[in-house]
């Protein structure tokens, strides 16, 4: 090295001159901790290093010092870019909130041809009068939909089985399109259906109007039929036929599927994933059963606990990661939601995992009778006689009444996870959510007592699993990186 160049030591900061930036930590194993900062970045540190870090004794020549400074856990007093970047990333994270409601669920009928064990809202009934949404109700709901300031509007038709009231689906689609000629929003439609009653005529309507289909697939035939009883015990066959038809008409990507984990599903994670692959899906949502509906009524909502679900989840994920390594691209959505918060500045705004909670912000539900709820779960809770999360009714309340209602505001206010006890100092909080409806339903407390909460156990379990995998397996981490950016 020639004289005129200075050695690397000359560019290190003076010892003890750094400042701490906001971060939290959790123990990992006996002698390590994981640190997370405001924007969800993380790194591991030995315990004794944590002590020297907080006491401002960590030497600038220490490799951990470099990582901590580069990832914005500490800064030198002159590091102005650090604050700019942290602010920018925080802003990106929160920017989605500013757009307000995007997903509008229309429960067009409560009637259904299935009698699923874990569904309490649907009815086996011919009585259209009592359980179908009327055109008048739909009109009022649409008024509210277009009050949303969000440039994107997604209308999802739910039930019961929405195909049993397809004339109303048609009505809403056509009305919404008509209004949109003036409104010029990015308008999308989804029908959530088991596909058992799908006809060529319905599909043709979906094709012409660009409507997507979200259907249900719980696993192999016996499991699926057991979870989803209907007369003739042919739910799976109906699904298979319907899926083929729907794809033929609408195109491959216009049809997606969701899964419900019943206790019978728990030992069968691999088979369920294989079933999805067999039907040509490239993703799955390993969704735990919500503590609502039938389950709550019978006070047996713990059909299985977080521990057994986690076992199922880990088995499924191990298999899915293995598939990806063998070149089969296959995504698990629940993990993706968390990983997105770990690995990017984007908040995927998944309603269960938002902080503040997504209720009324990312989703709003219009029930068949005009009642408005903060989320699908709130509607189910109301079916159980708990109206806590009912925001109002389209026939009697104004936009203001509904979206500035105490029910919504107090939930929102109470649900910044960063203010809940335990969550406020939990290192996983930037990746976690609030789910006030869950905690209200299970603990009678919107904030929840996290040490005893199944939600918290599930989140901690998933987060620790994902962290361990990424740490032990760089290839899996690369795969996750592609998930969160797709």
């Amino acid at each position: 090295m020639t004289e005129k160049f200075l050695p690397v030591q000359d560019y290190l900061p003076d010892s003890g001159t750094y400042e701490l930036l906001p971060f939290k930590f959790e123990p990992v194993g006996a002698d390590e901790v994981i640190l997370t900062n405001l924007t969800g970045e993380f790194l591991y540190l030995k315990r004794e290093k944590l002590d020297s870090l907080v006491s401002h004794r960590l030497a600038p020549s220490d490799a951990d010092y470099r990582a901590l400074r580069a990832r914005h856990f500490i800064r030198q007093p002159n590091d102005r870019a650090t604050l700019d970047l942290l602010a920018l990333k925080t802003r990106t994270r929160l920017s989605r909130l500013a757009n307000f409601t995007n997903l509008h669920l229309f429960v067009v009928t409560l009637r259904c041809d299935h009698a699923c064990h874990y569904c309490q809202v649907s009815r086996q009934s011919e009585d259209r009068q009592s359980f179908d949404m009327s055109e008048e109700t739909a009109d009022r709901a649409l008024d509210l939909v277009f009050r949303s300031p969000n440039p994107a509007i997604k209308i999802e038709f739910q039930g019961g089985e929405p195909l049993l009231n397809f004339p109303l689906v048609r009505y809403v689609v056509e009305k919404a399109e008509q209004r949109n000629r003036v409104e010029r929003r990015d308008l999308q439609f989804v029908v959530a259906t088991t596909l058992s009653m799908v006809t060529d005529e319905i599909l043709e309507f979906c094709r012409v109007h660009g409507i997507h289909i979200s259907t249900s697939l719980d696993g192999p035939e016996d499991l699926h039929n057991r979870n989803r009883p209907r007369p003739g015990r042919d739910s799976h066959r109906k699904f298979t036929d319907g899926l083929k038809k729907a794809r033929d008409v609408l195109g491959y990507d216009a049809v997606s599927a969701v899964m419900t984990t019943s206790p019978a599903s728990l030992p069968r994670a691999r088979e369920i994933v294989d079933e999805y692959i067999e039907h040509g899906f490239d993703s799955i949502f390993l969704r735990p059963l919500s503590p609502y509906g039938f389950a709550i009524k019978t006070k047996s909502y713990q059909a299985y606990d977080a521990g057994s679900w986690l076992e199922f989840y880990r088995a499924g994920m191990d298999y899915i990661i293995d598939l990806n390594k063998r070149g089969v691209r296959f995504v698990e959505h629940y993990s993706s939601v968390i990983l997105k918060k770990m690995l990017t500045n984007d908040d995927p705004m998944f309603v269960d995992l938002m902080s503040p909670c997504g209720a009324g912000i990312s989703a709003v539900v219009f029930n068949y009778d005009g009642d408005v709820y903060a989320s699908d779960e709130s509607r189910m809770l109301n079916e159980m006689g708990d109206a806590t999360f009912k925001l109002g009714n389209v026939h009697s309340d104004s936009y203001r009444d509904i979206f500035a209602s105490d029910a919504l505001l107090s939930v929102l206010e109470d649900s910044f996870a960063s203010s809940a006890p335990m969550c406020s100092d939990c290192a996983f909080e930037p990746w976690c959510g609030a789910d006030p409806v869950f905690h209200h339903a299970t603990q009678g407390d919107i904030l929840g007592r996290k040490p005893e909460s199944e939600f918290c156990k599930r989140m901690m379990g998933m987060i620790r699993y994902l962290l361990d995998v990424m740490r032990a397996d760089p290839q899996a981490k690369s795969i996750f990186m592609t998930w969160v950016n797709s």
Partner: protein, 387 residues
Amino acid sequence: MLTLSGSALETGLTAPALFRLTTVPDLPAPLRAQRAFLMRGLGDVPEGYPHYLVFDRDPIPANGAAFTRLDEKFAYLSDDDIVHLSPHGHVRTLFRSASNHNSILLTEQCNNYCLMCSQPPKRKDDRWIVDEVRQLVPMMPRTTKSLGITGGEPTLFGDDFLDIIRLCKSWLPTTALHVLSNGRSFADVGFARNYAAVDHPALTVGIPVYSDDPSRHDYVVQEKGAFDETIRGILNLKRFGQRVEIRVVVHKQTFERLPELAEFIARNLVFVDHVALMGLEMMGFTRANLDALWIDPIEYRDELSAAVAVLRAYRIPVSVYNHQLCLINPDVGIAYVKSISDWKNEYVPECDGCARRDECGGFFSSGVKHGYSPSIKPFPHRHPAVD
């Protein structure tokens, strides 16, 4: 290697001048007045050109006009090239129409002092270059595809630098303009705003970031606090919607944290338009600091793979420049660009018989001359199938 600067054999010039060259004998008179005629061998000498270039032993223009005689090193000169000639016989080629890599060196001064600078900065005031460039830009063919502005640090001239960008926008609106800057000047919001206000339709600034660790970057550029200014500069540029490319030279002082740097970019600067990961060029300071800088690229191939994988996962366009194909992992191939020279890709004896020579960028001539990896290994040809 091309000789871009050298001495003429003789010249009849009395004052320094810039000339755009032509071999077309019958240009309209007003255009002849703005060109120098490039004579090749015998033939009629058209009238009306202010200056003539002849080679070697070729006969001189019979009309007695002023001429400059060049040797064969300048034989590459052709139509629409632009040269600067001095009365002392100094020749500098400033623009070659056949090249897609023309660039304007705006100054040799710099506020960094990079270990591997290929154009070692000088302190002396060279603002005169700005005046020359003001003349040069309007002489360039308006069909020029791309043009670079380099230094030193071209932004050090402040408003004069912005003037040059404006001039390019006016005369060469369809020419993609690529500025190489260390980005620090843009930490000044006002300057970044003025730069954006030029509103050039095809302008990119390439800015080096050498590490996610500020002290490591500062060391490589030999300037405390440079990292902070550079990052703030990039943020300001993106805030005003400017195109930014991040340029990373990979060497012994930067390869270790290359994957971390990629993650830093993915997390903090995901909105940049391109990331270039470049091999070391054996020029300028690099040769003085060879021990501190040189590492066989084969030794950092895994870091390179990891960095490319991260950037690609986050959908940040990434290219790997100045590398030899046999020294990278196959998964880097997707980002590999056959770059290096716009004139002639050079190879070394080890390359003989390599099956992928056509796809490989080969070497800088400086690399061929001053040392290259001992790990160069030609790709075998697949044996032709025998029926």
